[in-house]
């Protein structure tokens, strides 16, 4: 019952005129960002975070949460209409969404995507509301050792479950952590890694500089290179009647939507996974259990419903560890977590005690954002289709400018703007060679927290390394983390043994 009263308290915050306005504006903006090929929630949140200094933290996180949400809806629009995913989270939506559009069923695909997103979102927010408070209560007992163990687990999931090239993933984690160590040593206060004695490095490297560099400038360079050809927008015949007809297919896609919602939510909680693998997995599972798996890939609405419900559910799921444990579940939540630090909030379970209005305002606003995203999406389908025709040569320079002034904003130092450009260019080149970038962003956000918790635990225990293993919770988490780190190695050895056996 306590949850209900807190939730109602949250709704009174979410319905304050400023916050409600920001939810609606954020949803619309998120839909737009998601619909643009090359831009996803992480880009939108990274580039727009500096703009939110205008409003109090609660309103800021509500706004960014709405963008995150809207972008998950919006990604489907370009997947269906262009056959190009609007964001990586909507890749799986192209598999059946595009064939549906080519068959002249674009409107049905769009309605299926929107309603599946809504159902996935709603289920995951309810799960979130129920799970978050007890988890936060458990986490309140966590000390520095547990915090460090959790961060190790977050990095380990990239190695064990990430699926990318392992040395490159590890490299990305390491470089993010090293960059986070630039500045003053937190324990001794001595300057550290001050390259070329440039004073700009004394205040450290703000995570936003890296995030905007990679997700703003780097991403734009990437999109400009990959979107060479002309894109063809499918025709969609959208009338009220056809939309109502679209709702009739809901019964057919019910099972796929449920699979996507639950699977997406739990996959979303894992730091390395998030919405992209969540939606791909949901597509795979929905296909396996479907009565007509052979129609998948040829325009089956179930193939749209499963990934779309999953990516919305995953985006909510990834907020669970961010709010309760202070460990982000996705690159976007990593940036939100960094934002909290800038706003002067300490991420983690204490938020539920000290900043109830912030936490519950955000949770309630997700319910509101979900409803508005559905309404705006369906009501303005023609407008978003028009958006897809907007020339990229107008949008790209505006985004570059937002990146530059946004990178300047937090520290007001031109040094950071140059650094951001450097990260953008190097990030783009690294990305071309399959170096994953999300681990680096997660690492630069978590780096300072990880180092503090590690060194505090060691100081408290008088330099005893086993402190991380002696406490039951931290010990268990550390063991899981070590297993995940070793997972690829075990696979390698098994593969070699298997080859020997067959050879």
């Amino acid at each position: 019952m306590e949850i209900f009263s807190l939730l109602i308290e949250g709704f009174t915050i979410a319905f304050e005129p400023l916050n409600l306005g920001l939810v609606i504006f954020g949803c619309a903006l998120g839909l737009f960002i998601g619909a643009m090929p090359g831009l996803g929630s992480v880009n939108g949140v990274a580039i727009l975070l500096p703009m939110t200094f205008l409003v109090p933290p609660t309103s800021a996180i509500i706004f960014l949460g709405a963008i995150y949400y809207g972008a998950m809806y919006g990604g489907a629009i370009s997947s269906i209409m262009l056959g190009i995913p609007g964001a990586s989270t909507a890749v799986a939506t192209t598999f059946d969404g595009r064939p549906m559009a080519l068959k002249g069923l674009a409107d049905q695909a769009l309605v299926t995507a929107a309603t599946a997103s809504f159902i996935g979102g709603t289920i995951s927010i309810i799960l979130f509301t129920l799970f978050a408070p007890p988890l936060a209560k458990v986490a309140l007992a966590f000390g520095a050792a547990e915090e460090f163990a959790l961060m190790m687990l977050a990095f380990a999931t990239f190695i064990g479950l990430g699926g990318d090239d392992i040395p490159k993933t590890l490299f990305s984690i390491f470089i993010g952590l090293v960059l986070s160590a630039v500045g003053l040593d937190i324990i001794s206060g001595q300057p550290r890694l001050i390259f070329g004695d440039i004073t700009g490095f004394m205040h450290g490297i703000n995570f936003l500089v890296l995030a905007i560099g990679i997700y703003g400038i780097g991403e734009m360079l990437w999109t400009i290179e990959t979107s060479k050809g002309e894109m063809t927008v499918s025709q969609a015949n959208v009338t009220f009647r056809r939309i109502v007809d679209g709702f009739r297919t809901l019964r057919r896609t019910f099972k796929a939507t449920m699979i996507g919602s639950f699977l997406g939510y739990f996959v979303g909680i894992l730091p390395a996974a998030g919405a992209t693998p969540g939606s791909l997995m949901a597509y795979g599972v929905a296909k396996t259990v479907s009565r007509e798996p052979e129609t998948f890939g040829k325009g089956n609405p179930e193939g749209v419903a499963a990934p779309e419900s999953a990516n919305n559910a995953a985006s909510t799921g990834s907020m669970l560890p961010m709010l309760t444990l202070g460990i982000p579940g996705s690159p976007t939540t990593a940036i939100l977590l960094g934002g909290m630090v800038i706003w002067g909030l300490e991420p983690g379970p204490m938020l539920f005690v000290e900043h109830r209005d912030f936490v519950w305002g955000l949770i309630a606003s997700l319910y509101v954002a979900n409803a508005f995203a559905l309404l705006i999406n369906i009501a303005f389908i023609p407008a978003f289709i028009w958006v897809l025709r907007l020339p990229f040569t107008i949008l790209a320079p505006l985004i570059f400018i937002l990146c530059i002034v946004g990178g300047y904003g937090p520290t007001q130092d031109m040094h950071d703007v140059w650094l951001m450009l450097g990260f953008g260019v190097v990030g783009y080149l690294l990305r071309k060679l399959d170096y994953p970038m999300a681990p680096a962003v997660l690492a630069i956000v978590l780096g300072p927290l990880a180092e503090i918790s590690m060194r505090q635990s060691l100081l408290q225990s008088g330099g005893n390394v086993f402190v991380f293993f002696e406490r039951p919770i931290s010990g268990t988490i550390m063991v899981i983390a070590i297993i995940l780190f070793l997972l690829p190695l075990i696979k390698l050895v098994r593969g070699m043994l298997g080859r020997k056996a067959t050879g």
Binding site: F171, D185, T393, L398, F400
Partner: protein, 165 residues
């Protein structure tokens, strides 16, 4: 692609070694009763970076990673030229901010990008170049009270400060 993979790994290895050397300015060893020294965290992580680079090179030699098998060009002529113009114009804009400020560099960049790289007509390009700085001014200087760099154009803004701030 194959060559690029190796070059990147070697460049990153050199960078890692530099980071190791730089971290070693602070104690990197174990201080009894206290734990690792101030430089230990970045030092061992950079060592990790170096080892990863070595691992990437081993995989390159054995042609395991997709990039090391690919015979495709890392960047074709078209990609190179778009990268050169886009990244180049941003670099010039940031450099110009130091001298003529944001309100001088931003319109020039927008005009260059939309008119010459984008091939739009003069009308829309000029409109975008002139409207954007006004929005930037009101959003950053007035609403957020973040002073954007203005270079030598600073005195021109004194009357505006008097009116709005």
């Amino acid at each position: 692609m194959r060559k690029a993979e190796l070059v990147m790994a070697v460049v990153m290895a050199v960078f890692s070694a530099y980071l190791m050397w730089k971290s070693a300015e602070l104690p990197i060893g174990w201080i009894p009763e206290e734990g690792p020294g101030g430089g230990a965290f970045p030092f061992w992580l950079s060592t990790g970076m170096l080892l990863c680079c070595a691992w990437i090179v081993v995989r390159w030699v054995r042609r395991v990673s997709p990039a090391s098998q690919s015979e495709e060009q890392f960047m074709d002529a078209r990609a190179r030229s778009s990268f050169f113009w886009v990244a180049g114009s941003i670099t010039v804009m940031i450099a110009l901010i130091h001298f003529i400020g944001v309100y001088g560099a931003v319109p020039l960049f927008l005009l260059f990008y939309t008119r010459f790289l984008g091939g739009h007509k003069w009308g829309p390009s000029l409109a975008l170049a002139l409207v954007s700085p006004v929005i930037l001014f009101f959003f950053f200087e007035i609403a957020l009270t973040i002073t954007l760099p203005k270079g030598f154009t600073e005195p021109l803004f004194y009357p505006l400060y008097d009116i709005f701030l």
